[in-house]
C-alpha cells in the first residue's frame, strides 16, 4: 500500500484530470456499453479540445496571477474580423492580421494592467465591453456566412486513425498544447511568468522585469484567443457577436478543474486540456443519459468546487 501512496504522490498534478476523464469514460461505458468505443472517445475529445483551445489564453492569464474576462468578445471580435478580412486579403494574410489583432488586444490589456495598475478583472471587463461595442458597430453578421476552405480543413477536416476518424482540430489542439507547454516549462520567459504569478515581489527582487513579462503574457493570451476564434469558426462553421459567451467562464472552469491555482503561479496547458476533457466527458454523459443541460451545469459547478476544495485552500501565513 505504501508503494501506492508513493506512486500517487509522484504523479504530476496535471495527470489527475486525465485519470478522472478516463474514469468518467468507463462509468459512461457501464451506463451504456455502446459508449465504450474509440469513436465516442474521440468525439468527446474533439469537442472538449475546442474548449481547451479557447482556454489556452486563459491559462496564461491565470498562471501569471490574473484572469481574462475579455475572452468572450476577443474571440468574437477576431473571428468576425477574420471572416471580413478574408474577402479582401485572402486567407493567409487575413490569418496573420487576425492573430496580430488578438495579440494587440492582449497587449493593450497588459499595458493597462501594468502601467496604470488596474486589476485584471476590471481591465478585462472593460475591454470585453469595449470590444462588444466595436463588434456591433463594425460587423453585420448576415454577410459572414462563408468559411474559407483552408480553415475548415484544418479544423473540421477528418483524419484517419485506427479504423475511424477524428476532426483535425483535436490534433491541432494537441500540437498547440505541446508547444505551449514546452514554452512555459523550458523557456526563460515561461519560468519568469510562473514566478511572477507566484509573487511579483519575489520576481522583482530576483531581477526579473515584471512588467515586461506580464505584457508579453497578456499579448500571448490575446494571440491564443485569436487562434481559438479561428478554430471555433472552422469547427462550428459559424460566427456571431455572441459566439464567445460560453467561453468566458467556461475557460476559467477548464483551467481551474485542471488544478491550476486561481491565484497564479501554478498551472499547465496539459492540465487545462485535462480539465476541458473532464468537462467534455461530463457533457457527453449527461447528454447520453438524457439528463438535460441544467444537470450538466450543476455538475460543472460541483466539480469546480471539488477541485478547488482539494487544491485551492488559502494557506494561513
Amino acid at each position: 500500500m505504501n508503494s501506492l501512496r508513493v506512486t500517487i504522490s509522484k504523479t504530476p498534478r496535471a495527470a489527475w484530470p486525465f485519470v478522472a476523464f478516463l474514469g468518467l469514460f468507463f462509468i459512461g461505458g457501464l451506463i451504456r456499453p455502446g459508449l465504450m468505443s474509440i469513436e465516442s472517445l474521440l468525439g468527446t475529445a474533439a469537442f472538449a479540445m475546442i474548449l481547451a483551445v479557447a482556454s489556452y489564453g486563459q491559462t496564461v492569464a491565470i498562471v501569471q496571477g490574473g484572469i481574462d474576462l475579455s475572452v468572450a468578445n476577443t474571440i468574437a471580435f477576431t473571428a468576425l474580423s477574420f471572416l471580413t478580412l478574408t474577402r479582401s486579403l485572402g486567407v493567409g494574410l487575413a490569418l496573420l492580421v487576425t492573430l496580430a489583432l488578438g495579440a494587440m488586444v492582449g497587449a493593450v490589456n497588459g499595458l493597462i494592467i501594468t502601467k496604470l495598475n488596474l486589476t485584471p478583472i476590471v481591465t478585462t471587463i472593460a475591454m470585453n465591453g469595449f470590444l462588444f461595442g466595436i463588434i456591433l458597430l463594425l460587423f453585420r453578421s448576415s454577410e459572414l456566412a462563408t468559411i474559407p476552405e483552408a480553415v475548415s480543413a484544418v479544423t473540421s477536416g477528418r483524419i484517419e486513425f485506427l479504423g475511424t476518424s477524428f476532426p483535425a482540430a483535436l490534433l491541432l489542439g494537441l500540437i498547440l498544447m505541446v508547444g505551449l507547454q514546452l514554452l512555459i516549462s523550458y523557456s526563460g520567459w515561461g519560468r519568469q511568468l510562473i514566478v511572477t504569478g507566484t509573487s511579483a515581489e519575489v520576481a522583482r527582487y530576483a531581477g526579473i522585469s515584471v512588467d515586461r513579462t506580464r505584457i508579453m503574457g497578456w499579448a500571448l493570451t490575446g494571440f491564443l484567443n485569436a487562434i481559438a476564434a479561428i478554430v471555433i469558426v472552422g469547427f462550428y462553421s459559424q460566427a456571431s457577436p455572441t459566439m464567445g459567451a460560453s467561453y468566458l467562464l467556461g475557460s476559467v472552469a477548464a483551467v481551474v478543474v485542471g488544478g491550476a491555482s486561481i491565484f497564479g503561479g501554478s498551472g499547465s496547458f496539459v492540465a487545462t486540456v485535462g480539465g476541458a476533457f473532464v468537462l467534455g466527458q461530463v457533457a457527453t454523459l449527461v447528454s447520453v443519459a438524457n439528463l438535460g443541460s441544467n444537470i450538466q451545469q450543476l455538475i460543472y459547478g460541483v466539480i469546480v468546487l471539488g477541485v478547488v476544495a482539494l487544491y485551492g485552500r488559502k494557506k494561513k501565513a
Binding site: S185, Y186, S187, G188, W189, G190, R191, Q192, I194, V195, T198, S199, E201, V202, A203, R204, Y205, A206, G207, I208, S209, R212, T213, G265, S266
Partner: protein, 512 residues
Amino acid sequence: MTTSEKTTGAGKTAPVVPRLIVTDLSKNYGAIHAVKRVSLEAYPGEVVALVGENGAGKSTVSKIIAGAVSRSSGQISVDGEQINPASVGDSRKHGVSCAFQELSLIPGLTVSENLDLVDKSPIGRFSQKSASETARKILEKFDLSHIAPESLVASLSLADRQLIEIVRSLVGNPRLLILDEASSALTPPGVSWLFERIRELTASGGTVIYVSHRMNELAEIADRVIVMRDGEQVGSFTKGSWSVDELVSMMAGRETSSQFPQTTEIKIIGEPVLRVSNLRSDRLYGVDLEIYPGEIVGVGGLAGNGQSELLSALFGAHAARADNWEFAGIKLRRMNPQLAVRLGVGFVPEDRKLQGLALALGVGENLVLPWQKLFGFGGKPVIKKEQGWLNSVISSLSVKTRGVREAAGSLSGGNQQKLVFGRWVDKNRKLLLLHDPTRGVDVGAKQDLYSSILRLSEAGISVLWLSTEVEEIVNVCHRAVVMYEGKIVKTLAGATLTADEVVGAAMGGNND
C-alpha cells in the same frame, strides 16, 4: 492545584496560587515540532520573560496561550481553571490578552474603531463620536495623548502602531498579559512607557509574560527568565542569577564567546563601486553614500526610517532619483532590477518566504532565477547547465537539502535564507545588498552566512548590510551609516563604531 512559597517582587513571602500553569504543551505542524512538551508556571504580580532565538518556539507558546493558535497536546490552566481557547476572543474572556508580534490592528480603520472592536459583540450601535470619546479617554489614561483617535491606523508610524497594539491588550484589565516582542518597534521612551504599564499591571496582581530576544531589557523588567531552544524549555533563572553570556549560550546551545567572526582591516583602494548623491524618493530625503570595493558597510537605525527604501532604491525595486548615481564608474539616471543585476548588484530581501523565494519551485530553480535569459531557456535545461555552480553554492554555504529538485518551501528557515543569499554567490557581483539576512536563522546557519559575507569582502565584493541587530553591525562591519527620517545622520567606523553610538544616532543624533 500547586501552591508554593514564593518571593514576590515586593519582597513579601506568602503562599500563592500560580496564575498560569502550562503542562506538557506541544504543537506540531505536520512533521515539524514547534513546541515540545513545555511546562511552566507564572504567578500573580510576576513578570516572566520567555527568551530564545527566532524559531525557538517562544512566540508559538504565547500564541497558544493567547488563543491564536491551537495546541496539539498539553494543558493550560489560568487561576486554577483549565482553559482550551478556540479563539482569541475565548482567551480574552478568561482574562488573557496578548499584544501580538504581527500587529493585529486593522489598518483601514481609525484608532478609535480599532480600540472599540475588542470584547464587544457585533450587535450594537456604533458611533464614531462616542468611540472617539472613549478612545481619547483610554489614550489619556495610558499617557498617549499624542495619538489622535480619529487617525487611520495606516497613517501612524510603526512605533505608534505598536503602542496602540499594546494599549488594546491592556484594555479590559487582563489578569494575564502576554507581550510578544512588544518593544521591537518602540523608541527608548516608548520602552520606558511599556515598562511603566507592566509595573502598573503587576502591582495590581496581574501577571506578564514577556517574550523577547533583547537581553538588555530583561535585566530591568523580568523577575524570572525561561530560555527556550528548538521548541523545548532548556533553562530557567530568577532575577539576579543570570548573565547575558549564560543566556545567549543557552539560547544558542553552544559556546558563543566568539559569536561573530573576526573582520580584517580593510584598505580603501581605488574608486568606489557605488557613489550616490542626494538620493531621494518618497521615503528618502537626500542620501549621500560611497561604498568601496571589499567594504562591509552596515546600515543601522530604528525600523521605518528609510533603511529598507535605501536598499530597494539601490536595487531599482523602489523608484528613486539622485543628483549623481555612479556604479562601477558608469553614470546612471535611474535604476531597475534587471539593470542592477546586469551591472553586478545582488539583493537579499527582508522576508525570505514572501519576497525571496518561490516556495513551490525547486531549490535549483530558485537559485538560477536571475540568470535565465528572457528569450533563452529556463527551468530544467538551465539547471542542468549550471549544475557545477549549483553544487558549489550548496556546498560552500552548507545548505541542507535533498537536491536541486527539492521544493524550496520544505527547507528550514536558515537553509531558505542561504538559498536567497546563494543566488548571488560566484556570479560576478560587485555589490550585495542584504536586508537582515540573519533574521530568524539558527545560530549554525548564521555562522555560515557570516563566513560567506567575509569571503565576499576578501574577494573585493562590497556589502551593504541592513541589520536590526546592533551587535552585527558593530562586530562584523567595517563601517556603519545610521539612518534617521530618510537621511544618513551619522557615519561610524573603527573606534567610534560602538553599540551606544549606533543606538544614539538612531534616536536622531547629531549630523556629522
